[in-house]
């Protein structure tokens, strides 16, 4: 059954929002004072944050390039937020001009923003859905159309699974996504981790408690387990800069400072 047409939640602009805070870390201005207050506080406690977010963005770019070069032209970007620059369809089209992308977010403001920027795009769609309500998400017409032909689809879970708590059952969500994917599909996933800077994890998670999307940082083992059923592409689950760098020099001497972990898996 389709979900009832309830009034959407999350339009409370008095609360910081993960998508807009992320935009601020990346130097964007798609944010409000309440978002900036929280972001400044976070950076004060952990000055590496903007750098980490940039590393995450760079991973997304490299991973998208990778799967596009591998021939995938269908993308499902869940938790797309406010794609300030380097949106998935822009990156993918460099390799696959026919690339189609369905963006998914649950924040009504992010969705409205995406709709504004994607207004002129023929092969891009934005869906207002909640990853945790996976069945509903997969039943949306745009998502169904993307999956229907049976061509490989790259699902992007870029810095979003850490907003799924253990109570929400992350493994169940991933299993449902995996089951819906045609063979040859890919999973691109990055995740805030407890590795690298365990000293920062507590305070940072505390900050996100005031948002509608509390943060759950996980261990490398837990993050690797999210690829269950997928074949991990080399080099596996690693710190953000370590995943297939453009050249070795860009990894830098301390990739663990980027704390986030990422990987790409393929469905045989």
């Amino acid at each position: 059954m389709a979900r009832p047409n309830w009034v959407p939640a999350g339009t409370d602009l008095d609360k910081p929002n993960a998508a807009r805070v992320y935009d601020y870390y990346l130097g964007g201005s798609h944010n409000f004072e309440v978002d900036r207050q929280m972001a400044r506080r976070a950076i004060e406690l952990w000055p590496d944050l903007p750098m980490i977010m940039r590393a995450n963005r760079a991973f997304l770019r490299r991973a998208t390039q990778y799967v596009a070069a591998e021939g995938i032209s269908r993308f499902l970007d869940i938790g797309s937020g406010i794609p300030t620059f380097g949106a998935v369809h822009e990156v993918a089209r460099e390799y696959r001009p026919d690339a189609r992308v369905v963006y998914v977010d649950m924040d009504p403001v992010a969705v409205a923003h995406s709709r504004l920027i994607l207004a002129d795009e023929d092969l891009c769609w934005i869906v207002d859905a909640d990853l945790r309500n996976t069945d509903d998400l997969l039943a949306r017409p745009e998502v169904e159309d993307l999956l229907a032909p049976g061509e490989p689809v790259a699902v992007i879970l870029n810095a979003v699974m850490h907003f799924v708590t253990e109570d929400d059952g992350p493994e169940k969500i991933l299993a449902k996504l995996r089951e819906a994917l045609p063979s040859g599909s890919a999973l691109i996933l990055s995740h805030a981790s407890l590795e690298g800077r365990p000293d920062q994890a507590g305070a940072h998670q505390d900050l996100y408690r005031s948002t509608p999307t509390p943060l759950t940082m996980r261990t490398r083992e837990q993050i690797t387990a999210m690829f269950d059923g997928f074949d991990l592409v080399e080099p596996g689950v690693v710190y953000l800069p370590e995943w297939r760098p453009d050249d070795d020099a860009t990894v830098g001497p301390h990739p663990e400072r980027m704390t986030g972990m990422a990987g790409v898996g393929r469905l045989s």
Partner: protein, 748 residues
Amino acid sequence: MSEAAAPGNGFHAAWAAMLRTGHGAAVRPGVLNPLIARTAELLHRAAQEHPFRPDLAGQVGALLIDNHFTDPQLLADAVQLIQSQPVPDDRGPALSGAFAAGWAAALRERTLREQEAIRLAADTARQEVEKALRASEARFRALFESAAIGIGLGDTDGNILAVNRALGDIFGGGPEDMQGVRVNDLVHPEDTPGVWEAYEELISGKREYFQFDKPYYRRDGEVVWTHLTVSLIRDDDGSPLYQVAMLEDVTDRYRLQERLRHQATHDPLTGLPNRAAFFERLERLFESPEPDARFGLCYVDLDGFKVVNDSLGHDMGDQLLTVVAGRLESALTPLGHLVARLGGDEFVVLLENCRGEQEAVAAAKTVLAALTKPVVIGDHRLAVGASVGVLERRIASTTPGAAVRAADLTLYRAKEAGRGRWTLFDPKENARAVSRYAVSVRMPTALDRGEFFIDYQPMIDLSNGAMTGVEALVRWRHPQLGVLGPEEFVGVAEETGLIMPLGRWVLEQACEQAAEWVAAFGDRAPKLSVNLAVRQARNAGLVADIERVLRTTGLDPSMLQLEITESTVVGPEDEALKALHALVDMGVSLAVDDFGTGWSNLAYLRDLPVSNLKIAGSFVGDLHDPAKDTHLGWRIVSGLVSLAHTLGLSVTAEGVESRADAERLRLMGCDLAQGWHFGRPVRPAEIARRIAEADPERAAGTAPGAGPEGVDRRHAPDAAADGKHHPAVSAPEFAAEPEIAPRGDDER
């Protein structure tokens, strides 16, 4: 100056490196590489070309912003790099300045643009929400307005704020008629008890919802029955905010139900409650009676009704019954008694909360008085009389089935005694009547038909509350009379000689059961006590019989106690005495049952090889008879206990029905006790369950039966000594068996 002359390679490489790190890592090569080339070229031209065009450097700044190089650190790095590059004509500062200005101006534009975009997005999202809200409100309004169920919204002060059309219909008006009405105005005299308490709890936030069938007055004064559900709505902080009532008109259903119920419970001819209704009331009375609550029954049968029916016709008979019913009802209902028609010309009067025999007898007299005047039907003056059987008992002492049966038999005694009179229930007469009417005839075949079975009543060690024994009590599931207790048929069995095969059967069955418990529970199995009838004791084959039974069942003789009565042995030369000694030599123990009820020759008692004395239940029972001297009663019991102890016998008190009595008996030194306080006779499975529950391993802290009835362990020195918590006196929660016979002394 070679570098200055050729700023190309070194600068270009540094510039490219700068743009590739940081944010640049996130920019796709297809964008980044041309950007590096283009900006480097523009900078080169700005540095070298004539005339000097600082705006080219400004364009570089703007290009970087366009590609989201918004990090201020980049500006610092870029200016530093540009400054480090030697340029002609002292263009350096102007070049850097123009670059910085171009970057800043573009950033400002970009910032404003993005702020505009996000604000627009936020507004759009908000409008979407408002649109959804409006749609949602319209949907809910439609739902509210056109719902078939009555819905009303009120505040927690009881003011009705809004009601829908269906609710207005239920009350026989429009929604506007409910305006200004308060919930508390809607009281109806037939409101289910508890509905307003539930309402108060709801509006004060103590409960979330309640459901009742509730009547209301319609505007036209008619009563409408509704199925009412009221729910509480709280605000964000959880404080009660509104109440929502949903009402479904169930008047038709209710009326039908009422009619069906009336039909099911009333006699269509006389309008009196029928047999089913009477039994329902009676059984409800027995559900959880107060310990001393009493009840009375008057069983009424018209004298000579058959003659009227046969000679004047059924129609006349029916009219007569209707008049009689009316008279009985108007005479007895005002006294608070229930009059029911059981069928034919049989009526019954039920006295709940009866104060004693006098009241029951008074009711019987009222019945007879009501029927003294002849009944005039048409031209006939019919003189009707009636016979009444009166039963008045403590509720806890009997069961509905047994009581009705006893009242019925008492009625027959009244009939036999000459009609037009009442007769009071007499236990002995009752037993005689039972045997006379139904027992003796059927009994010989009953054993073969498997109509007998055995219940077991717990015997409790008063010092620690443990169930150390059980008494086997034979029952007869009589096809017509229901379950009969031993006191109702053992007499006949003795007279007819059937006691021999029956007694043997009981021994075999009980010993087999006891051996089973020993196998299952080891030394926690209870010792078995079996009644031995006089005739059994005098039978020459007794010892051999018991030896055989013990051998075949494997029960250790020390686990068997036989209960004999005082009259079993009549003199020192009695043959029976030898048999008893033989049994004791075998390891079986003996107890004197019902001690104090027979003619006891204490001298013989000394010679009997018994080890236990069971004080008849009537002694303890009398302690609660208001007509008897309680103080004297206790002294008799106390005397019996010390007499027994003097003779070296242990004492079992029967018929213990309260904790207080149990405690008093314990303090008196009484060793064992049985009675309803400790458990009624029950099926063997129930005994097994009780043994299992008393497992000391599992029972630590939750000792068996250590309910609220348990006695403080301070009074139980033995319990303290073995370090385990044994309640000195405990009242197990036994489910009363579905039907048991009127209680005889041997099972109290």
